[in-house]
Symmetry: C2
Subunit: 105 residues, 2 copies
């Protein structure tokens, strides 16, 4: 059985946000995003794909379609096709997100 | 911004497992599965789709392709296209799973 333990997969770098692939196929990916204080995923868009952010721990400043919100553990948001989106860690604690995107761009 | 708070969405029924849609399109769904002790999703398969189970709380007995494992919070598994899969709550505590599936069958 293909299983993953998030705690064992979390990986941070002082250089930049880390993406850790958990599961995927040619149709989607499911990754962990691991951000130290001050790190970010730049704002960008995918013309065809939905991307879901689910906060596992920490607080993420989520940007979607020009709006920003701070989401905490157990909160989730979706960026729809063509919507600008990104995430920053403006908090002191590390941020871990579960991210699901389909179709894979 | 389309956001969801898992704690506010969790819904149980004494009758059967509850599926709570969080996000979706014609290409995928992202649901919460909420299972009281003894409840289950019957074993089934989808010929084209991957399904990911991520345990938010409780302990889930995940069945994939003839194998069973108990997964706890922060653990995840994937059922690949054509693989029999299902989940049961054999523990005393309530079980909440985040479930992604794509393509939507």
């Amino acid at each position: 059985m293909e299983t993953r333990k998030v705690d064992a997969e979390v990986l941070f770098s002082d250089e930049k946000m880390q993406k850790v692939p958990l599961f995927g196929s040619e149709k989607y990916f499911c990754d962990l995003y691991c951000l130290r204080k001050g790190q970010a995923q730049r704002i960008h868009a995918h013309p065809e794909s939905d991307k879901i952010y689910y906060v596992i721990r920490g607080s993420g400043r989520i940007h979607i379609a020009g709006e920003e919100r701070d989401l905490g553990p157990g909160e989730a948001a979706v960026a729809r096709p063509g919507e600008d989106h990104g995430v920053r860690n403006e908090a002191d604690d590390d941020l871990v997100l579960l991210v699901f995107m389909t179709p894979r761009p």
